[in-house]
């Protein structure tokens, strides 16, 4: 599908202008003839899925990679074929990586003025100049941080300030910020936006790099979308919303429909009554029915993961009770939980944890080796293959042999292996904690398909996520947690996605 790009072309006074920048790694094209510009003091969003070329582009501009010959990088009107890290820094290009690249053991002062500690080994670092640098950088943001505190003691938002200050101390004129809001609360995002406005007023250009459109789009002027190494287009930020962006990023229309089926009349599989653990969560009651998907959302630190760990028997409840099919049970360990048919999948980067190099049979049987093993603890290869064969047949997994490496399967078939792996444990309850963190839109959709199929086969699913659309479009009901308590229950469709997000980030 083609997208009409209404790209405002590079003006001559652009701070940065790329023309025909490409990069190949071996036979793969990471970037293909990119034309792009950033104006002085502009706030720009650069979005694309993993593998779209965002990070290659940043690395070219930071001088880590040299672009293929033929393109030019024009900075301040001077054309370059490529940049070295040193040049990039000298020209005022600074990248703040998602991990912030700070030194938790060093002080705020040393982190900001680290450049003064480079160079000739036996010289003393200039303490006074370092202090002046740090004070000046913090002053530009009107931020107040204890200069002598170790950065490890600061909050994530404060660390971000330190990282920005380090960029400013190096005379940044163009600041790339990689996923800057990923672990901030709404309030902290607002503070970040205020900081960005301040930088903008000082003529510093900011490029937010993200795999989704975040709150930062509020103050961005333009959005550039990359897909498969090509620029899809540059758009005025006001014309772009989440759904449109998803289409531009994936090149496909994505169906958005809420589920919201009702289960109330039936006996719940899992029930939690007035459960609590000091300092983690309090007075939590919930019920989960066979085939139901219940979303649990809220900010990081709202007690979602702690609740999941308690349900999985990892930490005992201090108050309240857990009922399975109406009978109170005590879960003393995760073995108890597994024995009761509760499975827990922690946040996992790749498709719910397949070991792609191992065989299909290995992957399917890993969860049920106990049941397969004989009294001596040995697993007969025949039983294992037979069991895997059974699932391959039932789920119609297209493969020549169950002994083939899982990576030889197509994406859809790999997802069925995941399905088989969890169905083999015959779980009644599946707890999924942030199952799509760091996963592309395309692969996310695949994971949602697996989750829905599990639910259709009667598994009760607790879907924990801080991504509002994820719970909104997959869950039948959504529980909103804050400060360890359930503060609201929402049925998707009855409340809009926007209102739910407002309630969570308020």
């Amino acid at each position: 599908m083609t997208v009409a790009a209404s790209a405002p072309e590079a003006r001559t006074d652009s701070f940065l202008a790329l023309s025909g920048i490409g990069k190949r790694f071996g036979g793969t094209v990471a970037l293909d003839a990119i034309d792009w510009s950033v104006e002085p003091g502009e706030v720009h969003c650069l979005v694309g899925e993993n593998g779209s070329g965002k990070s290659t582009l940043i690395k070219i501009l930071a001088g880590v990679h040299a672009p293929d010959p033929g393109g030019t990088i024009t900075i301040d009107g001077v054309a370059h074929q490529k940049l070295t890290p040193h040049q990039a820094k000298a020209l005022g290009i600074q990248v703040i990586f998602q991990d912030l690249s700070l030194f938790p053991n060093l002080t705020v002062l040393e982190n900001i003025a680290i450049d003064h500690e480079l160079g000739s080994a036996l010289k003393a670092p200039p303490r006074r100049a370092m202090r002046e640098t740090a004070v000046a950088a913090l002053g530009r943001l009107d931020a107040h941080l204890p200069l002598d505190a170790p950065v490890g003691n600061l909050s994530v938002a404060q660390r971000q300030i330190v990282a920005i200050c380090r960029g400013l101390a190096a005379n940044a004129r163009l600041l790339f910020m990689d996923e800057p809001t990923a672990s901030l609360t709404r309030h902290e995002v607002d503070l970040l936006l205020a900081t960005v406005r301040r930088l903008k007023a000082q003529g510093v250009a900011i490029v937010f790099v993200s795999h989704r459109l975040e709150e930062v789009v509020e103050i961005a002027e333009r959005v550039t979308v990359l897909r498969d190494g090509r620029k899809v287009g540059t758009y005025p930020a006001s014309e772009i919303d989440d759904h449109r962006l998803a289409e531009l990023m994936t090149g496909r229309r994505i169906e958005h429909a809420v589920r919201a089926r009702r289960f109330e009349a039936r006996q719940p599989v899992l029930e939690l009554r007035k459960a609590g653990r000091a300092g983690e969560f309090e007075d939590v009651s919930l019920s989960l029915h066979a085939g139901e998907i219940v979303g649990v959302t809220g900010l990081l630190g709202a007690g979602r993961t702690e609740l999941a760990l308690a349900l999985f028997g990892m930490t005992p409840l201090e108050r309240g009770e857990i009922l399975l099919n109406g009978t109170p049970v005590r879960l003393r360990s995760n073995r108890d939980a597994v024995a009761h048919g509760i499975a827990y999948v922690s946040e996992d980067r790749l498709s719910l944890g397949l070991n792609l190099r191992q065989s299909i049979a290995d992957n399917i049987s890993i969860t049920v080796l106990d049941q397969l093993s004989d009294r001596a603890g040995l697993v007969s290869p025949g039983d294992r293959s037979g069991m895997a064969q059974g699932w391959v047949g039932r789920l119609d997994i297209r493969t020549a042999s169950v002994d083939a490496a899982t990576q030889t399967l197509s994406g859809g078939n790999q997802q069925r292996v995941v399905l088989a792996k969890w169905l083999a444990t015959r779980p009644k309850v599946l707890i999924l904690d942030s199952p799509t963190v760091g996963v592309d839109i395309r692969n996310k959709q695949g994971i949602y398909d697996v989750v829905r199929q599990l639910a259709e086969r009667g598994v009760a699913i607790l879907l924990i996520s801080d991504e509002v659309p994820e719970v909104y479009f997959n869950a039948d009901r959504i529980l909103h947690m804050r400060d360890g308590r359930i503060v609201g229950e929402v049925v998707p469709g009855e409340v809009s996605e926007h209102d739910l997000a407002q309630a969570i980030y308020a």
């Binding site: 890290p85 040193h86 820094k89 990586f97 998602q98 991990d99 912030l100 690249s101 700070l102 030194f103 938790p104 053991n105 060093l106 040393e110 680290i114 450049d115 500690e117 480079l118 160079g119 000739s120 080994a121 036996l122 010289k123 003393a124 670092p125 002598d148 003691n153 909050s155 994530v156 380090r166 996923e179 990923a182 672990s183 300092g279 983690e280 990081l300 630190g301 993961t305 946040e347 942030s434 963190v437 760091g438």
Partner: protein, 332 residues
């Protein structure tokens, strides 16, 4: 100054200093000899080799690595120095300089292997320790060298006086060397750029390389400096026992690592101070000496070292866990 006080609370060094004061009080009550000048000076001298080695290990620990091969390095440098002086008649200064260079070279090999093979340093240095020792014994046939020069084996006293009851207190070469090493290490680590870079690399190696710190140079400094101090410790040790024995220091690695860790140097890098290491040595020395004076079997001492490490490590773990509390548990 309350700010200084606040900075001190919760640090391993502070807890250790408190433990030392308590230990000193307990032992001085139970044994009148404990807190006398001759006993304390003996103690310092007896632990001079451990302290010198621990200062070097501390630097490597801060850089985020670990080294098991330093006693092998110390033995090799010690033997080379003795060989050059006793068997080849080389004057002391060039002999010591050449041997110190050997120490630096052996340390640098560890740095180069760790950097280029991208293998964790514990594995690299277990391997090199084995190689260094094997080569040393192969070339020396495990023969001791006696009759070291007089200044080396009988020591130089910089200061001596007699106490009222006739005991002689001497400030000897090992004590002076140790003091210089501690001061030098403290200076390098806190007052020079390379020292701060060691802390930076230990705190976040990825970030260090992104801001333009040359990781290899930092590792060469850390392991090379440990090699250098190992050589010095080897010289001091030979002087104390009046001979150079290829295997004399073998097995001493764990005690040295123990005091560095006890003194607050973190195994994951980036944390620690020379003062902490010094306190760690002092604490273990006092414990051992006090238990000796009380007539406790020296075999029991291993139990005490082990317990001290366990308590120290679990305290650090406990403090960390509660300081971080409910802060973000996953990195996204």
């Amino acid at each position: 100054m309350p700010r200084v006080l606040r900075a001190l609370i919760g640090r391993t060094e502070t807890a250790l200093a408190a433990a030392i004061v308590v230990t000193a009080i307990v032992f001085s009550v139970t044994s009148p000899y404990f807190l006398t000048m001759p006993n304390l000076i003996d103690l310092v001298e007896a632990y001079s080799v451990t302290t010198i080695l621990a200062a070097g290990v501390f630097v490597v620990l801060v850089s985020g690595g670990i080294d098991i091969s330093f006693t092998a390095t110390a033995s090799a440098a010690q033997y080379l120095a003795a060989y050059l002086m006793v068997k080849q008649g080389v004057p002391a200064v060039p002999a010591l300089a050449i041997s110190a260079l050997l120490g630096i070279a052996l340390g640098s090999i560890n740095a180069l292997l760790t950097y280029h093979l991208r293998v964790v340093s514990i594995i690299v240095t277990i391997a090199t320790a084995s190689i260094y020792y094997a080569l040393l014994i192969y070339f020396t046939n495990a023969e001791e060298i006696y009759n070291l020069p007089d200044w080396w084996s009988n020591g130089v006293s910089f200061f001596r006086y007699e106490t009222a009851n006739g005991d002689i207190v001497k400030i000897t070469l090992p004590i002076v060397v140790m003091a210089v090493v501690v001061a030098l290490t403290q200076y390098l680590m806190s007052r020079t750029r390379i020292g701060r870079q060691v802390y930076a690399v230990g705190g976040n190696p990825e970030a260090a390389s992104r801001v333009g710190i040359d990781i290899l140079r930092v590792q060469l400094f850390a392991y090379g400096y440990l090699g250098f101090l190992a050589a010095i410790a080897g010289f001091v040790q030979a002087g104390r026992v009046h001979q150079a024995v290829p295997t004399a220091m073998k097995g001493g690695e764990l005690d040295v690592l123990a005091v560095a860790i006890l003194g607050g140097a973190s195994l994951v890098g980036g944390i620690g101070s020379v003062w902490g290491v010094l306190l760690g040595v002092l604490f273990l020395a006092m414990l051992q000496n006090g238990l000796n004076l009380l007539g406790v079997s020296s075999y029991f001492f291993g139990v005490v070292i082990g317990l001290a490490i366990l308590v120290s490590i679990s305290m650090t773990g406990y403090v960390d866990k509660h300081a971080r509390g409910r802060r973000v548990k996953r990195a996204g």
